[in-house]
C-alpha cells in the first residue's frame, strides 16, 4: 500500500519545514514533496472521466445525457461527473491557547495549521470541496466547503489566525457541524484534545450517524509527552492562567500515565465509531501524517486521484 511504497528521499524534517514562514508555501512543499516521493503511483489506471450513471428523471438537465448508453440500452442515463461525486471535507481546527505551547521553535498551533493546510491543498487538488471550522471555547470561524478559485487562499488565511482562545471546548463546533452539514462528507478534527472527553463521545456518535467519515489528528508537543522539566516550577495554565506549584520529578510518572490513558480513551472512542485516530508529535514530519491520511481514505473506499484540474462546473 502507498505507505509501504519505497521513498527515494527521507521525509522533510519539521525544523526545516517549519522555518518556511508562509503557510501556503509550506503546504505546497509538503504536498509536492509527498507526490514526488512516490515512485509509483498506486493510482494508475483510473479513469479521469465520469464514474457513475444516474437514471434520468424528468426535469433533469438534458445536457448530461449519455447517448451511448441510450443507444445500447434504450434507457436514459445521466453522467455523474467528478465534481458530483466529489467529497465535502470539513477541517475542524483547534485554535485555543493550549495549542500555543511549544518546546521547539514552533507551536502546536503552527504545526496543526500546517497540517490542515497540507490536507486542504491535497484535497483541493483532488477536486474535493474543503471547508474550515476553527474553534476554541466555541466556534470561531466557519468557511463552508467549496471548490473555487480563491477559496483555498481564504481557507489558508483563516488558518493563519493566531490561537488566542481561553479554553478548549470541542462540543460546540462538533455540534454545529453535526447540525449544518447534511450531505455526507469527511470530518477531520485537529486538536491536542487536552480537555475533558466526557460529552465528546455523544457528539461524535451523532456525527458518525449522519454518515460522515471521521479522522482525528491529536497534535502533542514532545515536552508534554515526556515531561522532562527540572526543578520546582510554578506552572501556569496557558488558557486559564491558573498557577500550580509542581515538582516535575515527583509527578512525572503520574502525569504520563494520565496522559496515556487520556489518549487511549480518545483512540478507543474514535475506533468504535469507525473513525481513525492519528497521534502526531510536533517533531514528526508531516508526510507521515499524509500517508496515514490517505491510507485511511483508501480503506474507506475513496478514489484517490492525482492532479485533477481544479476547474469547477461540469463538462460535457
Amino acid at each position: 500500500m502507498p505507505a509501504a511504497a519505497a521513498q527515494s528521499r527521507p521525509a522533510l524534517e519539521p525544523q526545516v519545514l517549519m522555518s518556511i514562514r508562509d503557510l501556503e508555501l509550506r503546504a505546497r512543499v509538503v504536498v509536492e514533496g509527498f507526490w514526488s516521493g512516490l515512485h509509483r503511483s498506486p493510482y494508475h489506471g483510473f479513469s479521469v472521466e465520469f464514474t457513475e450513471y444516474r437514471q434520468y428523471t424528468p426535469g433533469d438537465d438534458v445536457r448530461y445525457l449519455d447517448w451511448r448508453v441510450f443507444a445500447r440500452s434504450d434507457r436514459y442515463f445521466l453522467k455523474r461527473f467528478e465534481d458530483e461525486t466529489n467529497l465535502r471535507c470539513h477541517l475542524i481546527v483547534d485554535q485555543s491557547r493550549s495549542m500555543t505551547y511549544r518546546s521547539l521553535d514552533w507551536t502546536k498551533a503552527e504545526y496543526a495549521a500546517t497540517l490542515a493546510a497540507t490536507l486542504a491543498r491535497l484535497l483541493d487538488q483532488q477536486g474535493d470541496a474543503v471547508g474550515l471550522l476553527t474553534f476554541d471555547e466555541g466556534v470561531r470561524e466557519y468557511l463552508p466547503p467549496r471548490h473555487r478559485s480563491g477559496h483555498l487562499r481564504r481557507l489558508l488565511l483563516m488558518l493563519e489566525q493566531p490561537a488566542t482562545g481561553r479554553a478548549t471546548n470541542l462540543l460546540p463546533p462538533l455540534r454545529r457541524v453535526a447540525e449544518i452539514v447534511r450531505k455526507r462528507g469527511l470530518m477531520v478534527v485537529i486538536s491536542d484534545f487536552l480537555a475533558p472527553l466526557d460529552d465528546l463521545e455523544q457528539v461524535l456518535t451523532q456525527i458518525a450517524a449522519r454518515g460522515h467519515e471521521l479522522i482525528v489528528f491529536q497534535v502533542l508537543d514532545p515536552a508534554e509527552v515526556t515531561f522532562e522539566l527540572r526543578g520546582t516550577t510554578v506552572f501556569e495554565d496557558l488558557e486559564s492562567g491558573r498557577t500550580l506549584t509542581v515538582d516535575p520529578a515527583a509527578t512525572r510518572k503520574d502525569y504520563q500515565r494520565q496522559l496515556e490513558a487520556h489518549c487511549a480513551q480518545l483512540a478507543l472512542m474514535c475506533r468504535r465509531l469507525g473513525g481513525t485516530h492519528i497521534r502526531l508529535g510536533t517533531d514528526q514530519p508531516l508526510e507521515l501524517a499524509l500517508y496515514d491520511f490517505l491510507r485511511s481514505r483508501l480503506r474507506a473506499g475513496r478514489v484517490i486521484r492525482r492532479n485533477v484540474r481544479a476547474s469547477a462546473g461540469g463538462r460535457g
Binding site: 505551547y101 511549544r102 487536552l194 516550577t233 506552572f235 501556569e236 496522559l259
Partner: protein, 694 residues
C-alpha cells in the same frame, strides 16, 4: 557627625524594600507556561540549603547599599567649628540721645520719652557704660560717661532721671545729624575692646529733622543705632511761619505781611483762622479765615491792622498742637539815605546825568534813598550837606561849594566827582579830554565797590562804551598825602585810569574819568549802572539795616549797635542781659519773641521765631536714616535670623569642604558590584529552570 539634610535619613527606611522582595521571592518563582494542568497535581517546593544562605548574603548587601545611599544623600559632615564655647554677653557702651526740640512739646511726648529712658536704663547692667545727650539746635550733655562711671551702680539710673526731670523740651530745631555725629564720635573716642557700641535715639523722628550733615559723614564701624520711636500724639499739626515782606510804607492797601501756613499730610482739618495779637496776647481785629488742604501750604497776605503801635504777633487757630502757631513780626528797619547831586542838568533831559540818577534810586521796603539835586551855583544848606552821605558832582564846582564838599568828605562822607569836560579851578587836577572810544579793561574786584561784580557772571564790563573820557593823572604814592594812598579802581583799555579813589580825612573821594550822560558813555544804559550806584551808596554808609527776623538758635548781630556805655538786651520773658562793648553777637536766642536792645540811640528790636522745619511733624520715612549710611538695628528678630543664616552658611561650607557623600556613594557602588557578582555566581551554580527545552 552632623547632617546637612537630615531628612534624607528617612530614605534609609527603604531598606525594608529589599527585605520585602527577599521574603516575597521565596514564594514566587518564575512561571512556566504549560498547555494544560489537567494532569498535574500540586506539590510543595524544595529549597536547598546553600541557596538560602547565599540569598541572605545578597539581601544584606542590598540593604547596605540602600542605607549608604540614604546616608550619602543626607550629606554628613564633621562639625568642627572652633567657637563652640558660648560667647559671654559683651559689655555695652551706650549713648542715649534725647530729642529736646520744639516738636517734643506736643501731647505727652516728653513724658513718654522719659519712660523710654527709664526702660533703656533698666536694661543696662553694671558693667555697661552710658551717657545721655540732649539735642535740639545743638547737642548738650546731660550725663557724661565720666559722670556715669563715677556714680555708684545703683544710683546711676536715678542720676539720669533726676537730671532729666529738671529739663523740658525747648524751642529749638531738630539737628539730628549733628546729634548723631556727636554721639558716634563720643562712642569712638575711646578704644573699647569687645564692647558693643550703641546709640539709642529717643525722638519723635519728625520729617523736619535735619539730616544733611550725615551725607559726607562716614559712619564708624561697629556703632549701631537703635531707634526708640515715640508714639506720635493724636491730632494733626499746622504750622505758621513768617514769609517775608512786611510792608509798612506805602498806601494802606500795600501795608501787609505774608505768612505761610503749612498743613500736615495726615490732618483732617482744613479750615484755619489767623488773628493779630498784641503783646499781652489779646486779639486785635477780626480773625482772617483761610483754607489749607492737607499736605500743602498756603501763603497768606495779611493786611496790617490800623492800630498803633503795630501788633507784633500773629496766631494760627484750628489745629491740635499750638506750639508752632505763633509768629512774631516786626516791621523791618528802613534805612534812609540822602544823596546830594550837584550838577547843571535838568531832570527832564534824558541826555543828562540827573535823569538816570532819579530813576536809579527807587524806594525799597528796606531802603529809601533821597536824591537832592542842587545847582552848583546855589549856596548849599548846611543841613543838606550834613544829611547827605554821598555827594555826586558832575560839573565844575565854584570854590565855595568845592571846599564845603571837601569839608564834608573829610568829616566822613563820600564824594564822587565826575570829571567835567572843562578844567576846574586850580585845586582840581588838570584834565584833558580824549575823544576816542574806550572800554573798561582793568577793574579792581577786591574793592568793596566792585566786590558784588566779582562773580564771572557779572564781571564783564566791556559792554559799556565810553565815547570820550578825560585823562586823569595817575595818583602818586607820596608819603605827604593822607595815610592810605590813592588807588586806581578801574582802568580803560588804553591804561589810563577810569576811577580813582583817594581817601580824604574820614571819608573818601572818587573821581570818575567819564560820566554817564549820553555824550560820555552808555554806562547809564547798562545793567551795571544801578548796582554800581547802590554799591556806592553802601560804601558811603547808607547800607540797609540788618534784618529783623531771626530763628531760634541764630546769633543776633549786635556788634554795630553796642555802645561803650553799655547796652542792655531785654529778652522776651522779661529778663535782661547786659552786653559789653566788646561782646560781639548774642547767641542766647533760646526763646521766641521780640528781643529789644536798649542803649544809646534808638532801641533796636529783633524778632525770633521757631524754625519752620519744626512744624513738619510727620514721622520720618522708614530707612531714611539708613539711606545716609547709618547702621540701624531695626528689630532684634532680624539679628537672630541673621545669626542663624550665618551659622547655616558655615555648616554648608564645612560640608562642601569635607564631601563625605562621595565616599559613601563610592562604597555603595562597590557593594552593588559585589552583589551583582555574587548573584551571578549563585545563579550559575543553581541554574534556573528554563521554560524552553533544548
Amino acid at each position: 557627625m552632623s547632617f546637612l539634610a537630615p531628612l534624607f535619613l528617612l530614605g534609609g527606611a527603604a531598606v525594608a524594600l529589599p527585605i520585602l522582595f527577599h521574603l516575597v521571592r521565596r514564594t514566587t518563582r518564575e512561571r512556566t507556561p504549560f498547555s494544560s494542568l489537567m494532569f498535574l497535581r500540586p506539590s510543595p517546593p524544595r529549597l536547598s540549603e546553600r541557596s538560602r544562605l547565599e540569598n541572605l548574603l545578597l539581601l544584606l548587601l542590598r540593604g547596605l547599599v540602600v542605607i549608604l545611599l540614604a546616608l550619602g544623600f543626607a550629606r554628613p559632615f564633621f562639625n568642627r567649628s572652633a567657637d563652640q564655647a558660648p560667647t559671654p554677653t559683651p559689655v555695652r557702651r551706650v549713648v542715649l540721645l534725647i530729642d529736646q526740640s520744639a516738636s517734643m512739646q506736643r501731647g505727652n511726648l516728653w513724658s513718654e520719652a522719659r519712660g523710654k529712658v527709664r526702660s533703656v536704663l533698666r536694661d543696662l547692667t553694671s558693667a555697661d557704660q552710658a551717657a545721655v545727650l540732649l539735642f535740639a539746635g545743638d547737642v548738650g550733655p546731660l550725663v557724661s560717661f565720666a559722670d556715669w562711671a563715677a556714680a555708684p551702680a545703683g544710683d546711676r539710673a536715678g542720676l539720669v532721671e533726676g537730671r532729666l526731670a529738671a529739663t523740658t523740651p525747648g524751642w529749638g530745631a531738630t539737628r539730628l545729624d549733628q546729634a548723631l555725629i556727636r554721639a558716634a564720635d563720643l562712642l569712638t573716642e575711646e578704644e573699647a575692646l569687645g564692647a558693643q557700641r550703641e546709640i539709642v535715639l529717643i525722638s519723635d523722628l519728625q520729617e523736619g529733622s535735619r539730616l544733611n550733615w550725615l551725607q559726607p559723614y562716614a559712619w564708624p564701624e561697629g556703632v549701631v543705632l537703635k531707634v526708640e520711636p515715640l508714639e506720635p500724639p493724636a491730632g494733626s499739626n499746622a504750622g505758621l511761619a513768617y514769609a517775608g515782606e512786611l510792608r509798612t510804607r506805602g498806601a494802606a492797601a500795600d501795608r501787609s505781611v505774608r505768612v505761610r501756613v503749612t498743613n500736615d499730610g495726615a490732618s483732617r482739618n482744613e479750615a484755619f483762622r489767623l488773628t493779630w495779637r498784641d503783646t499781652d496776647g489779646n486779639p486785635v481785629g477780626e480773625p482772617v479765615p483761610l483754607q489749607a488742604p492737607p499736605g500743602q501750604s498756603r501763603i497768606v497776605t495779611l493786611d496790617l491792622p490800623d492800630t498803633s503801635p503795630l501788633p507784633r504777633q500773629i496766631r494760627l487757630e484750628g489745629d491740635d498742637h499750638p506750639f508752632d502757631n505763633t509768629v512774631h513780626v516786626l516791621p523791618p528797619p528802613v534805612a534812609e539815605t540822602t544823596v546830594l547831586y550837584l550838577g547843571d542838568d535838568v531832570p527832564a533831559v534824558s541826555r543828562g546825568s540827573l535823569f538816570f540818577l532819579e530813576r536809579a534810586f527807587q524806594e525799597t521796603p528796606r531802603q529809601v534813598i533821597r536824591l537832592l539835586p542842587r545847582k552848583p551855583d546855589e549856596p548849599l544848606s548846611p543841613g543838606d550837606l550834613a544829611e547827605a552821605v554821598l555827594i555826586i558832582a558832575t560839573t565844575i564846582l565854584p570854590p565855595a561849594t568845592q571846599s564845603a564838599v571837601e569839608a564834608r568828605v573829610a568829616a566822613g562822607g563820600t564824594a564822587l566827582f565826575v570829571a567835567p569836560e572843562a578844567p576846574a579851578g586850580p585845586s582840581s587836577p588838570p584834565v584833558g579830554n580824549a575823544r576816542k572810544y574806550a572800554m573798561l579793561a582793568e577793574i579792581d574786584f577786591q574793592h568793596p565797590l566792585f566786590a558784588p561784580f566779582a562773580d564771572p557772571r557779572f564781571s564783564d564790563f566791556t559792554k559799556i562804551r565810553f565815547w570820550q573820557h578825560r585823562s586823569l593823572t595817575e595818583p602818586e604814592h607820596s608819603p605827604s598825602e593822607s595815610d592810605s594812598p590813592a588807588r586806581v579802581l578801574a582802568r580803560f583799555d588804553d591804561q589810563s585810569p577810569a576811577l580813582i579813589e583817594a581817601p580824604q580825612g574820614r571819608g573818601r573821594r572818587l573821581t570818575l574819568a567819564s560820566g554817564w550822560n549820553a555824550d560820555d558813555s552808555t554806562l547809564a544804559l547798562s545793567t551795571k549802572f544801578v548796582p554800581l550806584l547802590y554799591s556806592l551808596v553802601d560804601l558811603a554808609g547808607g547800607a540797609p539795616a540788618a534784618a529783623s527776623q531771626y530763628l531760634i538758635g541764630d546769633t543776633l548781630p549786635l556788634a554795630s549797635f553796642v555802645s561803650p556805655a553799655g547796652t542792655t538786651l531785654r529778652l522776651p520773658d522779661g529778663s535782661e542781659s547786659v552786653i559789653d562793648a566788646d561782646a560781639g553777637d548774642f547767641t542766647g536766642t533760646i526763646r521766641r519773641g521780640v528781643y529789644r536792645l536798649e542803649g544809646a540811640g534808638k532801641p533796636v528790636e529783633f524778632a525770633v521765631n521757631l524754625d519752620p522745619a519744626e512744624s513738619r511733624t510727620a514721622p520720618l520715612a522708614v530707612g531714611e536714616l539708613e539711606a545716609f549710611g547709618v547702621r540701624e538695628v531695626a528689630d532684634p528678630a532680624r539679628i537672630v535670623t541673621n545669626a542663624r543664616r550665618e551659622a547655616q552658611v558655615q555648616r554648608g561650607e564645612l560640608e562642601a569642604r569635607q564631601k563625605l557623600w562621595r565616599w559613601l556613594l563610592a562604597a555603595a557602588v562597590g557593594i552593588l558590584l559585589l552583589e551583582t557578582w555574587l548573584a551571578g555566581r549563585a545563579a550559575r551554580r543553581n541554574p534556573e529552570p528554563e521554560p524552553a527545552m533544548p
